[in-house]
């Protein structure tokens, strides 16, 4: 209120001045929105980088996988490294495969099930990593305008109270308070718009990557199932 009274006509109307003239509720809202904007942009940048890397790694893995290289060799090189995407699915499936054959296969069907489960698990983990934190973008996108609006409403409320106190309806008295209150809405929209756009793009990207990995998992499962069919009856016969 006091600040409102001080913010009467004239003076500095820069954004910084508007922020300092605001009441503490509005200030808090503005700071919160700024933090949300910073964090959502951090997520956006992070995800964009991560997705680009994932896409590149998927492409590279597919190239290597379909190059006709021995799967045992590939497994050996990948098992030593930290893998992501298709690599981790492949490693999970191969590990299960190896474990099962080291202890001897009792039933080819259960082996097939275990390998599928392991691959599903790896895929889910990968998807989780891809889609993690996208929820924050979604919530910022939907709630930031409302938070900004809240700040504006509170700011205008206090502004009108101050006007009533000053007993002047001069626009020069009314305007700074309203401008400062509207700054909160502006910040809310500033945080929300990129968050919504990024969320839509990133979630569709993640879905595409997930599909790609799922396709690979299915294909690999089919390959392994063929291998099991080839190996297990042999052993069973022997």
């Amino acid at each position: 209120m006091e600040q409102m009274a001080l913010a009467a006509p004239g003076g500095d109307h820069s954004i910084w001045a508007l922020f300092w003239q605001a009441g503490w509720v509005v200030k808090l809202v503005m700071i919160g929105l700024l933090v949300a904007s910073v964090w959502s942009w951090a997520i956006i940048v992070d995800k964009l980088i991560a997705f680009a890397r994932m896409r590149a790694s998927l492409t590279r893995f597919e190239e290597i996988f379909w190059s006709g290289q021995s799967l045992e060799e590939l497994y050996r090189t990948l098992a030593e490294r930290k893998t992501s995407g298709m690599g981790s699915i492949f490693v999970a499936a191969m590990r299960e495969w190896k474990k099962s054959f080291e202890k001897g296969v009792k039933s080819p069907i259960s082996l097939q099930n275990r390998i599928d489960k392991a691959m599903d698990l790896a895929l889910t983990r990968e998807m989780e990593r891809l889609e993690g934190r996208l929820g924050f973008l979604a919530s910022v996108g939907s709630s930031a305008p409302f938070i900004g609006l809240f700040g504006t409403v509170v700011g205008i409320m206090t502004s009108f109270q101050a006007i009533a106190g000053s007993k002047s309806t001069n626009l020069a008295v009314v305007a700074p308070g309203i401008a400062e209150a509207l700054l909160a809405t502006a910040l809310g929209l500033l945080a929300a718009i990129p968050a919504v756009i990024a969320y839509n793009k990133l979630s569709s990207d993640a879905a595409k990557l997930g599909l790609r990995m799922e396709g690979f998992a299915d294909e690999f499962s089919a390959i392994l199932s063929r291998q099991i069919d080839e190996k297990v009856p042999l052993r069973a016969a022997a």
Partner: protein, 354 residues
Amino acid sequence: MKAGLTTSLALHAVVLGFGLVSLSSPREMAIADVESFPVDIVPIEEIAQSVRGDRQAPVAEKPAPKPTTRPEVVENAREVGDNMTDLTAPPTPDPKPRPVETAEAPPPAPRPAPPTPAPEPTPEPPQRTPEPQPVPTTEVAAEPQPRQEVVPDPAPQTAVAEAPTSEAVDLPASAPTPQARPQPPQAQAARTPERREPEKRQEPRRETASSSQSQTQSVEDQVAALLNREKASGGGARRSGDQAALGGRQTTGSKLSQSEMDALRGQIQRCWNVPAGAADAQDLKVSVQFRLDPSGALDGAPQIVAGGGGAGIERAAAESARRAVLACAPYTLPSDKYDAWAEVIVHFDPRDMF
């Protein structure tokens, strides 16, 4: 995540920094200096009213009375005229030329008198004394006269000569007075020459006696002289240098204001007994015309100018309206707008009463 956070922070810092620099203190809106138009609200009455002017003068844009000749004497005078005091009455045509002649005429009249008194000194002085007394109307002027009586003839002559001059100095506008003056003194002198003689002897002792004398002698004469000395009406004291232009005799508001009309209506309505059983009568409207004198009293009988033509209830309504006008007779209305309400037509409509 660290990379993302740092890039985000950097991005925000850049945007905020840019915002602080480029969005700081928006330029003040340039408001063109628009000249404000002065708007005067002029009541139509001012145009509709008759404004004082000269009735014989040619039409000009602004009515103006004849230019005045005297210098300004009253500071905030409102009425135009050659008068010394501010009177609302319009200036009357100056009857100066005639009175001047008559004014000169009386002095000769007393002058021939002194020669005649020479044989008979006693009766003639009385004739002179009443004359000077009314003229000055002041005690100072009255005093010298008795002394002159005691002094032989030549002295009164000079006194008489002085008196007129003092008159001329004091009251140049008193010209008309002589018209009335000469006759009454002669008549009185003719009636009671004997009484005056003893009284005059007492005069030197008492001033009051002289006043009592004058009362007994020539009250009418004095009053007449005084009255005549005043100019009948001389207009106001404001001075005008404008060319005379066509206008009314007097500046008058020709319209009563709404509140004044309401006041008149209210005064009449109080006394109006609406004819009983006339509630459904649609055509009982009556218009009554009447004249008022400046005091607000009725001047003549009110006349029904419309309505009340038939028999029975219509006639009763008309009569009730006429009675109402008569009953409330002295009406209080603004006297300065007498022109507006000298003649009034009032419409009586019983529907307004229910």
